[in-house]
């Protein structure tokens, strides 16, 4: 097992990883930008290295500085968290070439799954169902029209280099197509330095269901059931839960097996997530595989008792999976609300600044993952996620009641947050009944 790891991230996920390492008796090295001098992850880690100025490009995305920080502190492994360098195959490769263990899958796997079209081809080959559409980048309008002829409007244009909801455009008819392709290509180029696009059929009000995978380097692989992440705002997940109210045991087994098939096709190791869309006829389609820990991993932890970040570390160190399918007991229901420092009443504009009074929720069935503390100033430079509130209940109703209770207790003064929006969603009749889909916020709640 590692004696010391470096956490190449900030915020709540840096703290999450430090916690796992501490419980494993592994020393931790935090890295931070000049804007994060007052961050809690520095205080929780055993060591801390300033790696650059506030700008992400010059700090949390600066590969040489991070690798160098690992080398000067003698860290044997780097945990990338999510975002930043977590799905950057070059970073994983450089870690490997410098004898530093990258806590995640092999760099080749990240490369394969990072190219969303390449992933589609691999999955098609493996027999995993895809949303009808391209398996090659669009070369021309004609090319696009030929594909659309087979799948019909509306369609989604997506970036090959993409993921995380960026660079997606919906096209409702032929007239919009040309301009949509142009804009999407520009957006994709800006976001991923890759203007390549592909086309998929647009599904009407699908549900986002993803399967959590664990795989060791010895060929053992299990899944931990699904998470439903249908409550999204502009393709960004806002509320996640496990299990999904759309799945029965039979469908869960089928989707789980399909996810394992997908992961095996790329000889996956470490922790990962296979994402599917589920339509109203309970047909499901692969959309992408995330080769990292996900923001919403705590809901799976709550219903399994398994610490996924510890598992990442174990698996990266080459250990065998310590449990098999029969040991996994999914019980109860868990819900996560992402608390973002934005103003939902003002177009979700960022709401940075000093947090004055702060009381976080507690008590039975409530978990809070956060890096904020009283008098902490939320810097404007990074992601708006300031806390995750996760609740557990014996069933969905109890988890929802508990979340309502926790949100009511939560006092964050000085900045605006998504809490009022969460309360609105949780108390919506359709949500309570589990009638949700990825367009729920725009269509049903009118956000």
């Amino acid at each position: 097992m590692f004696k010391k790891i470096l956490i190449a991230n900030r915020g709540e996920i840096a703290i999450r990883i430090i916690r796992a390492a501490k419980e494993l008796n592994i020393r931790t090295v935090a890295v931070y930008s000049e804007a994060d001098r007052d961050s809690l992850h520095l205080q929780y880690a055993d060591e801390a290295v300033c790696i650059g100025p506030a700008s992400s490009q010059d700090s949390y995305l600066n590969i040489p500085q991070i690798i160098s920080a690992a080398l000067i502190t003698g860290a044997e492994a780097i945990h990338p968290g999510y975002g930043f360098l977590a799905e950057n195959p070059k970073f994983a490769e450089i870690c490997e070439s410098h004898g530093i263990n990258f806590i995640g899958p092999a760099s080749q796997t990240i490369t394969m799954m990072g190219d969303k079209l390449e992933a589609r081809r691999l999955m098609k080959h493996a027999g995993v169902p895809l949303i009808p559409g391209s398996i090659k980048p669009i070369e021309s309008i004609k090319d696009a029209l030929r594909i659309i002829e087979k799948i019909d409007y509306p369609v989604m244009i997506k970036a090959c280099g993409g993921g995380g909801g960026k660079g997606i455009r919906i096209v409702w008819n032929k007239d919009e197509l040309e301009r949509a392709l142009e804009l999407a290509a520009a957006e994709a180029n800006a976001a991923f330095k890759n203007p390549s696009l592909y086309i998929e059929r647009y599904l009407h009000e699908p549900r986002h269901i993803e399967i959590q995978i664990l795989a060791d380097k010895h060929g053992n692989m299990v899944h931990l059931g699904e998470r439903e992440c249908s409550i999204q705002h502009r393709h960004q997940k806002l509320i996640e839960e496990a299990p999904s109210s759309a799945l029965d045991d039979k469908l869960r087994t089928r989707m789980g097996e399909m996810a394992l098939k997908a992961a095996k096709a790329v000889k996956y190791n470490n922790v990962g997530t296979v994402e599917f869309l589920l339509d109203k006829n309970k047909r499901f389609y692969f959309i992408e595989m995330n080769t990292r820990i996900q923001v919403e991993h705590p809901v799976t932890e709550f219903i399994t008792g398994i610490d996924l970040v510890k598992e990442q570390i174990y698996l990266a160190a080459g250990e065998k999976l310590s449990f098999s399918k029969k040991d996994i007991d999914l019980s109860g229901h868990a819900l996560e609300c992402r608390i973002n420092a934005v103003n939902p009443d003002n177009g979700f504009s960022p709401s940075c600044g000093k947090i004055q009074n702060l009381i976080l929720p507690g008590g039975i069935g409530v978990r809070v993952d956060t890096h904020i503390y009283p008098n902490y100033t939320v810097p404007p430079n990074y992601d708006a996620l300031i806390a995750k509130i996760i609740t557990y209940g014996l069933n969905r109703n109890e988890a929802i009641a508990r979340m309502n209770r926790a949100l009511e207790e939560c006092l964050i003064e000085g900045i605006k947050t998504t809490i009022p929006l969460h309360q609105k969603i949780l108390n919506h009749e359709a949500f309570k009944k589990g009638n949700i889909h990825t367009h729920f916020l725009s269509c049903v709640v009118n956000v």
Binding site: I51, P64, I72, Y373, N375
Partner: protein, 157 residues
Amino acid sequence: MDLKRVKRLMTIMEKENLAELELEDEEFKVKITKPEFGVVAPLSVGHKYGIPAITTTSKKIPIKEFEKEKLTPNLRLVKLTSPMVGFFYHSQTPTSPPYVKVGDKITVSQMVGAVEVMGVINEIEAKVSGEIKKILVEDGHPVEYGQPLFLIEPEEE
């Protein structure tokens, strides 16, 4: 002078009931955080950093560091900080003479040291002309971004 000035600042903080005070001029840079306001400072998380060279800069209250410098009242010193994370070297190779030593006169753009990042030696150049008054990090020790490496007395213009 430095300690007295720090004490004066702390009196002002007390009076004005300030949580934090940051002050920088050519001869002096200090940031004082009162522990009862900022929550971070007093957290007991065991010792930070096994590596002595970085310890001082990752501490919250840098007053002691300045105490140690024992700056004379009218000395106007400029800090040259590390632009990167790595191992700091006084000379280009283990056998070559040091880039500079205390008392050396240096000119703008002169190479004064090197930081090894992932095996690559990056030479550090002076931003001002003047005299090296102190080398703050020992040869071969690790440095973080923004860590002071040299105190330089700039040339009169």
